[in-house]
């Protein structure tokens, strides 16, 4: 998924979702303030209390967990809503693992992996006092389609009956796909085909369980009752979102849904990034969502190193090139761009070597299926790749442009209008001009750039964009971003922005997904080979893997970073 503060709605074919990643903590607060990797410390009631204040430039749109598709609110949903499964809420790589949440255990597979059987825990209550029942579970899965959740078509279309629901969302019934038995609390989810990533998909916020009578439309700013340790008390997108303790919450599985520490969590909106930094420095806020402005990084990193936490993300910044439009319908032109871009320069624009790492592969380092190779660096080639990126090769790029016969052509670069993206665009413009093109820069609003560059009607030749994993599976990068099925000409939901479709490689990707059901290790190895084969055709130029900075106030303790959902908000201690 793409990380964004605004709603990214990718209907039908789309698969996108949001954020996450990281690795072990690269730098950060002192050990007393830091959670222990892989383990969530036992709950310490003496540290509970106080108000945690989060700040951001703006809100993230609807509060509806089945619709909202932003990292900003997904972080909050971790402490408010629950699905049958959840990603383990711990610090470090183990946060990529799924654990039973509202279900008593991980699903029992039968029928060749096409039927998943769960037993719903008893005694769990919504924040309005009603007990969670299997009918709520069935209604929630139907609601995913009724409200046209952005991932309904991408993640949950494998449930039996989903096709009809996608065609007629308002009357969605999953009687054959989600079979429940109130007497035994059993739930059977039937799939049309085995899916190696189904546990991940059931652990995402779009699959959380809501009351059966939740509105069959976008709830907007009206909170829906929660099951987690917090509930939403009020929400004004122009001002503030307030979370208070859910009076009916009792911890049932600490790995899935731990009790929270602050009594209240207040999210204030409307502060510029500069103001957010000042608020945290002055102790008026505890955490900021937006990136620290470039000209404050050095100051913060020097003066307040104990309040900074940096984590590598399983994400990437990359440049999709339209393989169906000149000049990038020529593979040599695309390879030229790959050779020409100075990934170190782009890292510098992003904030320096502590905040990003140059990358060549489509699958980020540390991600399932990742294989080290770099075909487009000085001294390397497609046939004889290096292990990692070293330096650009402008002369080779110029030669490839000349050989491609595309020299002198006009190239439009579309970027978001925020400072970092514009800087990236300006740099890319300079590089393209250097290797023989006539490049122009087109910065457009961050709110629409992501969908704009997907639509073939806009004839975007090259753009700068980012991808943050939805869940830890190679298909979430390669198949979703470069699979033939992800290319829908004329649609805003054509996430394959390069318009790349290699039928042979597409078959290999589908086969790798099938292989993952029975042999994940073999599948991951195949994904690595596919990555290298795709990058040989250079439909994109990968720039770097970003890192996440969390800047906390001096009073905050017990920071834990989940690779899947980033900082665990509810675990921060402010007392």
């Amino acid at each position: 998924m793409r990380r964004s503060r605004t709603l990214v709605s990718l209907i039908a074919l789309s698969f996108v979702l949001s954020a996450c990643g990281s690795s072990s903590s690269d730098s950060g607060s002192d050990s007393s303030a830091q959670g222990q990797e892989g383990v969530l410390a036992p709950y310490d009631a003496s540290k509970a209390g106080g108000t945690l204040t989060l700040v951001a430039k703006g809100a993230a749109g609807t509060l509806d967990p089945h619709i909202n598709y932003t990292l900003q609110f997904w972080q909050l949903y971790q402490a408010t809503y629950d699905g049958l499964l959840a990603f383990r809420k711990v610090d470090g790589p183990k946060s990529f693992e799924t654990v039973p949440d509202l279900a008593e255990a991980l699903p029992e597979l039968s029928d060749g992996g096409k039927t998943l059987t769960f037993t719903l825990r008893k005694g769990i209550k919504f924040s309005d006092g009603r007990e969670v029942t299997v009918n709520d579970v069935k209604a929630s899965f139907e609601r995913i389609f009724k409200v046209s959740s952005p991932t309904a078509g991408g993640f949950y279309n494998g449930i039996v009956g989903a096709d009809a629901c996608l065609a007629k969302p308002a009357t969605c019934k999953l009687d054959q796909g989600v079979i429940v038995d109130p007497a035994t609390n059993k739930i059977e989810i039937k799939l049309t085909a085995p899916d190696a990533t189904i546990n991940y998909k059931l652990s995402l916020p779009h699959a959380v369980i809501l009351p059966a009578d939740a509105p069959s439309k976008d709830a907007g700013t009206t909170p829906i009752p929660t099951t987690g340790p917090y509930m939403f008390a009020s929400y004004d997108p122009n001002k503030e979102l307030k979370m208070v303790r859910n009076p009916n919450f009792q911890e049932w599985n600490r790995e899935a849904q731990p009790a929270g520490y602050p009594d209240e969590i207040v999210y204030q909106f409307g502060l510029t990034a500069e103001a957010q930094v000042n608020a945290i420095k002055n102790g008026q806020a505890d955490w900021m969502l937006d990136p620290i402005p470039a000209d404050r990084l050095s100051e913060i990193g020097t003066e307040l190193p104990n309040q900074i936490n940096v984590h590598t993300l399983t994400a990437m910044w990359y440049l999709p090139m339209n393989t169906n439009l000149a000049p990038f319908n020529n593979v040599k032109a695309r390879q030229a761009v790959n050779y020409a871009i100075d990934r170190n320069a782009m890292v510098k624009i992003f904030g320096g070597e502590q905040l990003a790492t140059p990358a060549c592969t489509f699958l980020p380092p540390g991600f399932p299926g990742h294989k080290d190779f770099c075909q487009y660096t000085a001294g390397a080639s497609v046939e004889s790749p290096a292990q990692s990126w070293a330096a650009p090769d402008i002369e080779k790029a110029k030669q490839l442009v000349k050989e491609s016969g595309t020299a002198g052509q006009k190239v439009g670069i579309v970027v978001s209008d925020d400072e970092v993206n514009k800087q990236m665009g300006e740099y890319l413009q300079s590089v393209l001009n250097q290797i023989g093109y006539k490049a122009t820069l087109k910065p457009i609003s961050s709110n629409i750039q992501f969908t704009y560059i997907q639509n073939t009607k806009n004839k975007v030749q090259i753009s700068v964009t980012q991808w943050y994993q939805d869940f830890p599976a190679a298909m979430d990068f390669l198949y979703i971003l470069l699979g033939c099925e992800s290319f829908t000409p004329g649609s805003d939901s054509s996430i394959n922005m390069a318009g790349y479709c290699n039928k042979d490689l597409n078959k290999r990707m589908i086969a790798a997904m099938d292989l993952g059901v029975t042999d994940q290790a073999a599948a991951d190895k195949e994904w690595g080979e596919i990555d290298q084969a795709i990058m040989a055709e250079a439909p994109v130029a990968v720039a770097f893997t970003p890192k996440q900075i969390d800047f906390l106030s001096a009073r905050v303790k017990n920071y834990n970073f989940s690779k899947q959902f980033y900082m665990l908000v509810s675990q921060l201690q402010v007392k």
């Binding site: 050095s298 940096v310 510098k348 320096g352 209008d417 413009q429």
Partner: protein
Amino acid sequence: MTTHEPAFDLSSESPGKIALRTLVRDRRSWIASSMLLVVVALTLSAPLYASLISKTDPFVSTINGTVVLDGVEVQVLQQSTEGLKLGVNPIGPTWKIGPYFLGADNQGRDVAARLLYGGTNTLLIGFSAAALTLIVATLVGVIAGYSGRIIDSVISRILDVIWAFPVYLLSISLSVVLLTSGFKWGPLSLEAGSLYLPIFIIGLVYVPYVARPIRGQVLALREREFVKAAIGGGAKNSTIIFREILPNVIPSVLVFIPLMVSLAMLTESALSFLSIGVQPPDASWGTIIKDGLGLLYTRPIVALTPGLFIVVTAVALNLLGDAVRDALDPKARLRGAF
């Protein structure tokens, strides 16, 4: 009793000569002209500065570039080395004649060289847009005022419509639309991103502000005896306009020149600051301020220097405008005399 030289001359000299002499005697006009000359000379020296002094291409990103200062090779964009080593800072001002006199921007480009090139664009757009405004406004104002009746009504209503939009709102709207698609109307074609686009847009949005007072002046002139005499004498409309009306309108237009250049320059800077004026890699003072905004804490000079140039130029133009107005306005001189 003290004696002093009269502030105006009742001799037989032409009004133009009197105005010119008054302007030359006005200290403000000297100060303003000197300031303007310095600014214009500096901006025109941009190519020389880039090739001989800074020895860098101010339109090419050199993010990973290096420069030799005092015999030591340093990175143009330097990674922080303190604390957690977060952030990258462009090289600061060297204050030595040579590369990076005012430091580098986020793309590693020489700020001083861009400042001079940027000034060329800002002044070019300012003067060109002002010229466009004044030519079109004079034409429209004279035609409307002299023709009267339907033509006057139609032109006046069109001007009212344009006037109804705040000038910046209209400029921004037009820029946003034309920036991506360019402008094509008959044989007139302006490419997206062209420098002519801001000239065209700024020149257009200020037309009503000049055309309306000119129209009013022409309406009044039409009722003057010398115009009526010319009409009665059977003179052609074109003759009346060029011989009787225009010479009396020109002084007003002259007063508008510095003011309009100043307004056009400020509008261009505002549009460029919003990324909808001059497009990268070209520079203008507005784009450099925008570039410097993200460096306010570490390299404030990037934003401050173009701001300073804008202020100096705007003040000079306004001072000159006041001086020209006083020189061309007999009533003002009379007020000064008695």
